[in-house]
Amino acid sequence: MLSAIWETEGLQTVGIVVLVFASIKLLHLLGLISFSEDSVEDELELSTVRHRPEGLEQLEAQTRFSRKELQILYRGFKNECPSGVVNEDTFKDIYAQFFPQGDASTYAHFLFNAFDTDHNGSVSFEDFVMGLSILLRGSIQEKLNWAFNLYDINKDGYITKEEMLDIMKAIYDMMGKCTYPALREETPRQHVEIFFQKMDKNKDGVVTIDEFIDCCQNDENIMRSMHLFENVL
């Protein structure tokens, strides 16, 4: 009698165990449970983008660099970016190496957008050289235009306080943490206020291109510093 009970108990055990395994298998088949932890495949990024710049004569015509200078520029460019284009990450890396103490990635992002004039996500050598031509060899008007373009993040022709605040924070980020005097939260904001007080003539809360250029041309410091990097190359 007792043994009969225990036999059925044994069979019941078997039945329960089989049921449990079957349900686990079913859930696995349905994809609700996964057994292997590392099912991440490496995503091969196809980085076979190759870009060849326009001919030397055309670039010479379009920019204000001499042949030799273009050659030097291209060699440096190609050395760091053998594929011929710079994408944003590489750009950030390169720029960050000049500012080891701070975080240059935000400013590099704005800079990248300023150089990438056709907004295709990568800076080719033509974009690069055009930008440099304006910065190093352009007239004051062109340089100021370029700076305005940099600050105007959404390229709508107006610099708002928010845009300026973003730019200012990015610049202060490059300083890093260890500064004297210590950076405070409201330092960028104060700087933006000073900037707007100076630039925004009609006090409408935005700075247009004309206000900007006018104001900069009247400021001696700015004018002098615009000529600072003329003989960089």
Partner: protein, 590 residues
């Protein structure tokens, strides 16, 4: 800054125009660009193989042979090229270093030849890229060891130097039995006695036939107890003498006593002495018998005589985690199957599976495919699970074993490599610190000018980590006191005042552990002069803040730049010049 990125410096400086409208203070003057030499091609003729590169490429590293004026010594006028009578294959890698900024080590080259070329061209090996650095260091170490082994072999054939003390002579005799015939004799004698002792322990337990007036058989140990006792005494005496001699001769007795071999020695001879001390007390005889088991540890004394045993012990130790995992998984499987078998066999009559722990034995025997047959399942369910158990046992045991075996070598090499890398990293950092200062000066000044422009734009200055934290402490203390608030806010010479004030509080910047007596005396001597120095600092230009922070002595890693030492001399601390010979840590007193 890598050489390649240096080519982008003009771009970074041009982009700085974006800060100009934002800045409210005037920008610093850019450094004077000295007239650049004509950027022409240079032809380098290395034993007939011609290499060509730009002049500016070579001048990226001005403290190497090719980058400095030293190459003019090799200029060959007739052919208008630079001729080097060196190996062209290795030169290829050296030239690539100038081009890409990374030095690679070719695996097929001899390490000594490569080192020679590096030394000739003035390139230090620490800048070898990460891809090749490990290989380079390994080969170098191998080579050095091989040379050292050759030297040692030569040395061991020489006459031993006579000026060893007796103690050192004894220790040397113990560690290297081949140094003298006495040591060799001693070595073999101890080996012989270890063997004798182990065999005696074994033979003791063999039944030797019954004595005339006893019914049952006695073991030999009981029959010839006196003989065995004498043998044991002799062996233990030899072992004791050996242990005491080793203890006397050891250079560091504490370390010797902690070592594994000495513990084995002690454990091997203890049972005898304890046996002598204890009388035939029934209560302790059980423990005494257990102690005799420890006599078998004498066999481990053979490991001094056999290198293979030592290696085996070491590899077991290093694979302990894998073995532990095997044990753990086995335990899990045993518990699972024992439980299942117990409940399956509950129904059968006169079942041997009386409890789950009792079922453990069955599971272990089945899983290791031993199958003694003393416990067998009788029910059908039990047999089904029993067969599953034995099949899975094969898997559970057979699968991890090759993994463990292959893990042996992998883990062994890996742990060696991890230690190697740790040791190499320290070296590498030191080397890199030296190299970092070797970046081309024009780039450095331009880079500094760029950073300076940023400082002016934001009206903040870069300081280093220590100062920043000191400033934070300053400000927090100041907020409490509040009396000196005015002096801090008076800015341009705020730093000098903070330096002097910092000095009034006893800030403790911990000196690194290379603390000579003399360093501390310098510190004491310098303190009274700090007030004058702070006023001197006020006159320095805007980059002074960095130097000011070291106005009281913090021994720091200073590069080999001579100007630091001379300016410190100018400030009147002549004692620092005496430390210019010390290796890395120098006191920078400005």
């Amino acid at each position: 800054m890598a050489a390649g990125v240096a080519a982008w410096l003009p771009f970074a400086r041009a982009a700085a125009i974006g800060w100009m409208p934002v800045a409210s203070t005037p920008m610093p003057i850019p450094p004077q660009e000295k007239k650049k030499g004509k950027d022409g091609l240079i032809i380098l003729n290395v034993s007939g193989t011609k290499f060509q590169t730009w002049r500016t490429t070579l001048e990226r590293y001005p403290d190497t042979l090719l980058g400095s004026t030293e190459r003019d010594f090799f200029f060959h006028d007739e052919t208008n090229e630079y001729f080097f009578d060196r190996d062209p294959d290795i030169f290829r890698h050296i030239l690539n270093f100038y081009r890409t900024g990374k030095l690679h080590y070719p695996r097929q080259e001899c390490i000594a030849a490569y080192d020679e070329e590096l030394a000739f061209f003035g390139i230090i090996a620490e800048i070898i890229g990460d891809c090749c650095y490990e290989e380079y260091k390994d080969r170098r170490r191998e080579n050095a060891e091989r040379l050292q082994d050759d030297e040692e072999m030569d040395q061991s054939n020489d006459v031993t130097p006579v000026n060893l003390t007796h103690r050192e002579f004894l220790w040397r005799a113990f560690e290297n039995p081949h140094t003298s015939t006495m040591a060799l004799v001693f070595y073999y004698v101890t080996g012989f006695f270890i063997a004798i002792s182990v065999m005696a322990n074994v033979v003791e337990t063999v039944p030797c036939g019954a004595m005339p007036n006893r019914a049952k058989e006695m073991s030999c140990g009981d029959r010839y107890s006196l003989a065995f006792f004498c043998l044991d005494t002799a062996c233990v005496m030899i072992f004791t003498v050996e242990y005491l001699l080793r203890l006397i001769a050891a250079p560091s007795r504490y370390k010797f006593m902690k070592s594994v071999m000495s513990v084995i020695d002690v454990v091997a001879i203890m049972p005898y002495y304890i046996g002598l001390v204890m009388t035939d007390n029934d209560q302790v005889s059980g423990a005494f018998v257990t102690l005799r088991v420890f006599r078998v540890f004498r066999i481990f004394k053979f490991s001094r005589h056999s290198a293979g045993l030592r290696i085996l012990g070491y590899t077991l130790k290093s694979c302990a985690s894998e073995l532990g995992f095997l044990l753990f998984s086995l335990t899990m499987a045993i518990i699972i199957f024992a439980t299942v078998m117990f409940y399956a066999e509950k129904g059968s009559t006169a079942s041997k599976f009386t409890s789950i722990p009792a079922a453990f034995w069955y599971t272990i025997v089945t899983m290791t495919t031993l199958g003694y047959g003393d416990m067998v399942p009788k029910t059908i369910v039990g047999k089904v699970f029993g067969s599953i158990c034995s099949l899975s046992g094969v898997l559970v045991i057979a699968l991890p074993v090759p993994v463990i075996v292959s893990n042996f070598s992998r883990i062994y090499h890996q742990s060696q490599r991890a230690e190697k890398r740790r040791a190499q990293r320290a070296c590498k950092e030191a080397g890199k610190a030296l190299v970092a200062k070797a970046a081309s000066p024009p780039f450095e000044t331009q880079h500094n000018h760029l950073l300076h422009c940023l400082e002016k734009t934001t009206n903040h200055e870069f300081v280093d980590e220590q100062t920043f934290q000191a400033n934070c402490m300053e400000i927090s203390v100041m907020n409490k006191s509040g009396s000196c608030a005015s002096s801090l806010s008076s800015s341009p010479h705020g730093l000098s005042s903070c330096c002097s004030r910092r000095h009034r509080k006893k800030n403790s910047f911990s000196l690194p552990s290379t603390n000579n007596q003399e360093l501390s005396t310098i510190q004491i001597r310098e303190r009274p002069m700090v007030n004058s120095r702070s006023s001197l600092n006020a006159k320095l230009d805007g980059t002074a803040p960095l130097k000011c922070d070291k106005s009281y002595i913090t021994p720091s890693m200073v590069s080999l730049s001579a100007p630091v030492v001379t300016s410190s001399d100018g400030h009147g601390s002549t004692t620092t010049s005496t430390y210019s010979q010390s290796n890395i840590v120098r006191v920078s007193a400005l």
